[in-house]
Subunit: 106 residues, 2 copies
DNA sequence: TATACGTGCAACCGTTCGGCTGCGCAAATT
DNA sequence: AATTTGCGCAGCCGAACGGTTGCACGTATA
């Protein structure tokens, strides 16, 4: 059973849940009202999101409020950093090429 | 057949391919050398990545170089922006609360 | 021209995914 | 004490996933 953030956010329903919960912590029932899906299926999604630490359940009586763990979202951002760096490097090389051309013209 | 960026980067092999190709455009064979997977399977991944515009094929004789389309990566970043904004709002509200407490103390 | 090479496509197969229903359990309400 | 409510778990099922093999086709090389 693969269970990483990228697999978690691959599903559109789960992405929508994350957005919902980002605004304020919500219970499974409250979340389910926003979708055309049975509560149990939402529960499955919440389980997956919790398992990879994107959500944290907070019990309150017989209700469970799921809260977004924003820090975990940063991991996606960190992954994107690689490409930002690589691209930066590419531009540096491009700059060098342009610089060389410039000098040749002299 | 779902086919969006998030589903594309859900697979670890595809993420690795993106990193490889980010450094320099590569052919399917060259990419396949980095994995314990048949060339045809890599081709499948390249097809998926191309279909959602993360990669662009450039034919050169009988070889095909796949190049990263960095712009498409920004879409992920754009999605993350929602959360950055929401969190910013939360902090503002927190600031207000703290401000109110502060004033009450006076 | 015949052969080797680089590639994509089609068909197959076991596993995973994402819905569903039915159930049991604990907390709240009556 | 009995009932309602909120929830998670287990099992089912069709579809999608990610690997495989075999093949066809265009391009380079002998």
């Amino acid at each position: 059973m693969r269970r990483d953030i990228f697999q978690a956010i691959a599903d559109p329903t789960r992405r929508a849940i994350l957005v919902l919960v980002a605004v304020q912590a919500m219970t499974p029932n409250a979340i389910a009202e926003h979708f055309d899906i049975r509560r149990q299926s939402i529960s499955k999604h919440l389980r997956i999101l919790s398992e990879c630490d994107l959500l944290v359940p907070r019990q309150e009586g017989r209700e469970i409020f799921y809260e977004l763990k924003i820090d975990k979202m940063k991991e996606i951002d960190t992954w994107l950093d690689q490409f930002r760096k690589i691209m930066e490097e590419s531009f540096k090389q491009l700059d060098e090429v342009l610089f060389t051309i410039k000098n040749k013209k002299k």
